[in-house]
Subunit: 173 residues, 2 copies
């Protein structure tokens, strides 16, 4: 695998060439899109690499952390906020239950519902996994100033909202 700078140069070159053929091509935006996909993908890959030794993948981990931060949650809640399909949630819950990190219990008030709760083993797992991730998380943004990070935060949130309203254009009463 080539190193990143060459990879980026190649991308710029390719988009540049296509831009000559399609004068309307919004070159800057296309580059940003590809950069976001690239960075997102690498970040995901790095995270999964760190999690694999513990037998978890990124969505398992994210789900575990969401349950951890609230103590318990229903699959639907988790789907809402983790933008996952319900189908997938079932499988993730199965895996976490099987690993003894969470428990499944049917809700008393609404027996359609399942309540997923973290176990002590689950909490222990979080304590084991989380801190070793800090250096890498830090490393990813090492060359950015605090100000850079604040700006990045702001811009990413804007893009997230833009994308959201692209997909669901103003479905408000």
């Amino acid at each position: 695998m080539k190193r990143m700078p060459e990879c980026l140069a190649h991308m710029d070159e390719g988009i540049g060439r296509v831009g000559e053929i399609f004068p309307d091509l919004p070159v800057q935006e296309v580059v940003l899109t590809r950069l976001l996909l690239l960075v997102g993908g690498n970040l995901l890959g790095e995270l999964e690499r760190d999690l694999k030794p513990h037998g978890l993948n990124e969505s398992d981990f994210r789900t575990l952390m969401m349950i951890y931060s609230r103590g318990s949650a229903t699959p639907t809640e988790l789907c809402e906020y983790a933008q996952q399909g319900a189908t997938n949630m079932t499988r993730i819950a199965n895996a976490l239950v099987k690993a003894g990190l969470i428990t499944r219990a049917t809700s008393a008030e609404d027996r359609r519902r399942i309540v997923l709760s973290i176990t002590t083993a689950g909490k222990r797992m979080v304590r084991k996994i989380l801190p070793p991730l800090f250096p890498n998380v830090h490393g990813a943004f090492a060359s950015l100033t605090t100000n850079d990070k604040r700006t990045l935060d702001r811009l990413l949130r804007q893009i997230a909202v833009n994308l959201d309203s692209l997909t669901q254009p103003d479905s408000r009463p």
Copy 2:
């Protein structure tokens, strides 16, 4: 599915709670990581939604565009720059060949190699697919100023390089 602002608020809240339990948690960086994963994922989803009617997925499309921009390429070249496994490249090439968008030919100088070249149907497909994407690409960054975009470009490239050297720490002679 909840709207984006609620989703972001929920994320901030969750990370905040975890940050209280783990004082060393680099909150700002974790938030940025999650934002990048979120935006990357949504961007990918949007793109795939636009491509599906044409029978292509994102990696098919990316590969087609790379071949388009150079006229032809070998699977290995494409893997290098598109950070895809060779395995996957085989399948993608199969799909594109089957759709008549590219051709496969063995190289004359090195008979281990395969040369993938775009066909006229492939070029036609690019002309058909690409322009309708422009509005969405534009929309994703609509609320950003030109300066914002330049900054974002710079920061994303830095992160990309940081991640790269996290993974392959200075393997230079």
